[in-house]
Symmetry: C2
Amino acid sequence: MRSFAIGVDLGGTNLRIAAVEDSGRLLQSLSTATEVARGRDLVLAEMALSIRELARQFGSTHKLAGIGVGIPGIIDLSSGTLHSAANLPGWSNYPVRAELEKRLGVPVLLENDANCAALGEKWIGAGKEVDDLCMITLGTGVGGGFVIAGKPWHGLIGMAGEIGHMTVFPDGRLCGCGNYGCLEQYASATAIRRMASEAIAGGQAQGLARCMDSDPAFSARTVFQCAVRGEATALKIFSTAGHALGIALASLINALNFPLYVIGGGMSKAWEVFSPALLDELHKRSIVFRAGESAAGSPKSTTVVPARLGGDAGLMGAARLPMIARSSWNFCSLAV
Amino acid sequence: MRSFAIGVDLGGTNLRIAAVEDSGRLLQSLSTATEVARGRDLVLAEMALSIRELARQFGSTHKLAGIGVGIPGIIDLSSGTLHSAANLPGWSNYPVRAELEKRLGVPVLLENDANCAALGEKWIGAGKEVDDLCMITLGTGVGGGFVIAGKPWHGLIGMAGEIGHMTVFPDGRLCGCGNYGCLEQYASATAIRRMASEAIAGGQAQGLARCMDSDPAFSARTVFQCAVRGEATALKIFSTAGHALGIALASLINALNFPLYVIGGGMSKAWEVFSPALLDELHKRSIVFRAGESAAGSPKSTTVVPARLGGDAGLMGAARLPMIARSSWNFCSLAV
């Protein structure tokens, strides 16, 4: 009898829940109607209901390994309390694990969402062949997560992976974190929009201005589409993002010499327009990257690739959590 | 019966060998007369002779756990071959481990010297209380090593820890590695001397010029002594080193959230004159450092400290290698 786990991806706007087989096969996924904005208690009720439903549906053909929940915030792993979560108002200092375990009667594992995404990619995505990887997620902000020896790396206070706040230009733009020149100020979707807006306001980007006129949301996606069509200013903006990413990655590669760095998040779809500048920086700035390359053809060179699982990485990684923690308990039975 | 191990620190100029008890007590250390410049075969012969001598001396009261050798170069750990070592002419691509094991008849472990220093500090130095640490060694160059889960971290091709080549100023000084603005260009003893020399040549550093006139070697140590006496230009030079270190460390802390960063190497004696600028950068640039600090009084804050073992860290770490690898063989008996 195969086993399965239930993964939960608690995003800033929606809640996604999936039953995933230990083979990595997605058995079923649900995206609940409950918007996270409707509040903590409704979300938890909906979450528990959906988990029970999936547990019932697959409980006769599979053993349940457990429940994993990915949350966009800082988690105190020993107590299972959500320390802080900028996009989940009302959840800070809430004992999420205890509350879910009370409702479900089975062990629940919590994990930061970026770490879940890194773990998902390690399990069945771009990182299947390695034990150690670093994932950088490019979205509204820039986040990150490390998998070391096959497991999420938390750090001393669960804050490892703040790659978006690595300094790339010491005298650069002021970041919301208080620092100047953070990666996030150059390589997030927010930064792409800001750079486009500044270029248009400067009056030197008529081509880009025409593209953006057609998009009331003024989105990074439109800047990308404009870049794909060869518009010079849009290309330059993505090149700036690639250079910033390359500077941060070169430092990480020199320091850690990991085999794999995965670029995920919505912005990673723009890989074709920012990766040339990124790889150019790695060649120039990373002695370790170059040393790996000179061992040509062998599996010794550092790899930097776009993520494979897209928006599912976090969900799959959350489901993976109970599978890799299995030594701590036996298969569980959820009263459904 | 207690056990002991023999550690070897093969430096660019001298060879040091020590018998170290499993308690961390130094039983005896030898600094051989053989200068490394006299060539590989003489060094290996001297090394084997001294190892036998120490094994005989303590073999009746202690069990021998093994031999660990720290080498300033890139080591292929699977084959035990020294891949490259800039300061050991004639040693590149030499099967050091096989050669030593042939001469001694017991297992030998090789390790990069910076990793040995990090391991030594973890064992009986600044890192006794933690499992994970990053060590940065400030000497002629800037090196580094990571200990993760109590063991040296090698990375994909054994090149982890090239912290001196992290980019701190993207448009900064050209480094020997080909990159611009590497940490090593601002925080090594070489960089201190260069900055002093440039300031004096610029004619705006009479006080520093007088200090340096008394030192035919024009050493970083003299710049330090000048700074300790309050000379403004010398203080500014060490402040530049501290800022550069702080920028690199802030990025490492944000990425990894390790509990401890240890600053070692000869330059670490100048801690009092560069650490204020370093800590200032951490406060400004690291959201993770600040989050740890706000958990005041708890053991949750990131610690940055000077090394405790001084020049012995690498030697002690080398001796530690067979102790942490013990599961792979039994105590060994060296025919003496």
